[in-house]
């Protein structure tokens, strides 16, 4: 396990999917894959420096690389294309709700959407996620609250309508 190649392979196997998921928020698939490849190349070069919990570090590197992309905003149409299939696709309400959630996320301030996604997708603490987002923990916590409230409010009326 101390062998660098084995360590790196393990790192790649454990975190590739997570880093790509994040990159897909801000880039088309081919570009996102290239960014993630570059991220892991940097991780390989700096293998000795990686923190014990490397995922926030990897996401931070990917984020910096993504900032250089021309169109790196969070786009609803891009996310809709990647929406994972469900075991029970016939549950139309669920599909509609997820699509609606994506549209709301893409429409809100990017930093707010990112706060919610970083904590929900990866289980990061506000402190870890704040470092990736490049802000103070307090600022991040505010963004997270705002995003949760906005999404809850946006979805509520539709649910009520469906029930009526």
């Amino acid at each position: 396990m101390d062998d660098p190649e084995t360590r790196f392979t393990d790192l790649y196997d454990r975190h590739y999917r997570a880093v790509l998921g994040y990159a897909l928020l801000r880039a088309d698939r081919a570009a996102a894959e290239d960014v993630v490849g570059e991220t892991f190349l940097i991780a390989w070069r700096r293998l000795a420096d990686l923190p014990p919990e490397p995922l926030p570090w990897l996401l931070g590197v990917a984020r910096n690389l993504l900032r250089k992309q021309r169109d790196s905003g969070i786009r609803a149409e891009r996310l809709l294309a990647y929406l994972p299939a469900r075991d029970a696709p016939d549950v139309a309400d669920q599909v509609t709700e997820r699509e609606a959630a994506l549209i709301v996320l893409a429409a809100m301030a990017e930093a707010d959407a990112e706060a919610l996604i970083l904590t929900s997708w990866y289980g990061l603490t506000p402190r870890e996620a704040a470092k990736i987002a490049g802000c103070a923990t307090g600022t991040f916590t505010v963004r997270l609250h705002r995003a949760r409230r906005r999404l809850t409010e946006a979805l509520r009326p539709r649910t009520l309508q469906e029930q009526s």
Binding site: Y12, D13, P84, K131, G134, T141, L151
Partner: protein, 326 residues
């Protein structure tokens, strides 16, 4: 549950497919290069020091002005120029700002600390100081916010850590206000006398920088003290020029400081230090520390150190010369 809904949007199908398709090539490409050897230097903690003239109580505003490791050699292209131009413009603004004089240097600072994950404690402190005496205002507006109920519960269970000590207004009798900038302990008079020449100020920073620390990151940490001190405008301008020459700076043109004031934020290459600046006046609105938590170190008798913690932030509400409040 909103979090479950958001989690269900994660593009797991695509990432799994991509992982299978790219794994062999990505690993091969990486292994064609050799990994670098560890090149970090040991973390050197330094200090917000308040030296007491007599062994007495202390007030400490400043966590470390130092710390520096470079965690990732992440290239940032366009923002480098933009951050640079912002800092250079700030230097010009300061150079054309008339010097002010006064007796007491007044600072009103809202401090944000994160004693536990998901917990932020904010409080406002105020001082008026002429280098020997003055006044320390009581800590005001203490507010604790939580990411969720679990964080609040954990904080209460641990005895509500991180709350500032309440205290009545008092004088500086028996105390000397000083800041730790790297290896130097700096008093108000020292800050007033800081050189404005580029070479001299750089030399001062180099002398203060503990060995092994990254020069750029150290200058950023020091900037938060110098830019909010009674140092001359020309000295502050020179410091901005020194910061501007660093590579890897990151600019956010639509930043807000921890109390919501709009400004430009500039983060150093390590990501540890962020300065939020008002572009109209080149004044420092806030400083945010996002480096690793410092470990407490032994300090000289009669002094106290508060280690810097990730997420600590300072919003400068008022900074300048004033009279003592009536």
């Amino acid at each position: 549950m909103i979090d479950d809904l958001v989690r269900s949007l994660r593009p797991d199908d695509v990432t799994e497919e991509s992982y299978r398709a790219r794994r062999a090539d990505d690993l091969k490409r990486a292994f064609a290069a050799r990994p670098e050897r560890r090149r970090r230097t040991p973390l050197l903690a330094a200090s917000g020091l308040l030296a007491a003239a007599a062994a007495a109580a202390f007030v400490v505003f400043a966590p470390s002005a130092t710390v520096a490791q470079r965690p990732a050699p992440v290239p940032v292209e366009t923002p480098v120029l933009t951050a640079r131009s912002v800092l250079l413009a700030g230097a010009e603004t300061l150079e054309s700002t008339p010097a002010q004089t006064g007796t007491y240097w007044h600072q009103k600072i809202r401090t944000f600390t994160s004693p536990l994950d998901g917990v932020v404690v904010a409080s406002t402190g105020e001082t008026w100081y002429d280098g020997r005496d003055g006044r320390i205002g009581p800590v005001r507006d203490v507010k604790t916010t939580f990411a969720d109920e679990r964080a609040e519960k954990a904080w209460r269970a641990k005895g509500r850590p991180g709350l500032p000590e309440a205290g009545a207004e008092r004088s500086f009798k028996g105390m000397v206000l000083a800041w730790g900038i790297g290896t130097k302990t700096v008093r108000q008079d020292d800050l007033k006398k800081l050189p404005a020449g580029r070479a001299a100020l750089q030399r001062w920073l180099d002398e203060a920088r503990p060995s092994g620390e990254d020069a750029g990151s150290f200058a950023f940490g020091a900037a938060r003290h110098i830019l909010t001190s009674p140092a001359a405008n020309t000295t502050r301008a020179t410091l901005l020029r020194i910061l501007a020459d660093q590579s890897g700076l990151r600019l956010d043109e639509k930043a807000t400081d921890p109390i919501g004031r709009p400004g430009l934020s500039i983060t150093d290459a390590t990501g540890d230090h962020t300065l939020v600046v008002d572009p109209a006046t080149a004044k420092l609105l806030a400083y945010v520390y996002n480096g690793e938590d410092e470990q407490p170190v032994d300090t000289p008798p009669g002094t106290k150190m508060i280690p810097a913690q990730q997420g600590t932030a300072y919003a400068y509400l008022e900074t300048g010369w004033s009279d003592l409040p009536g």
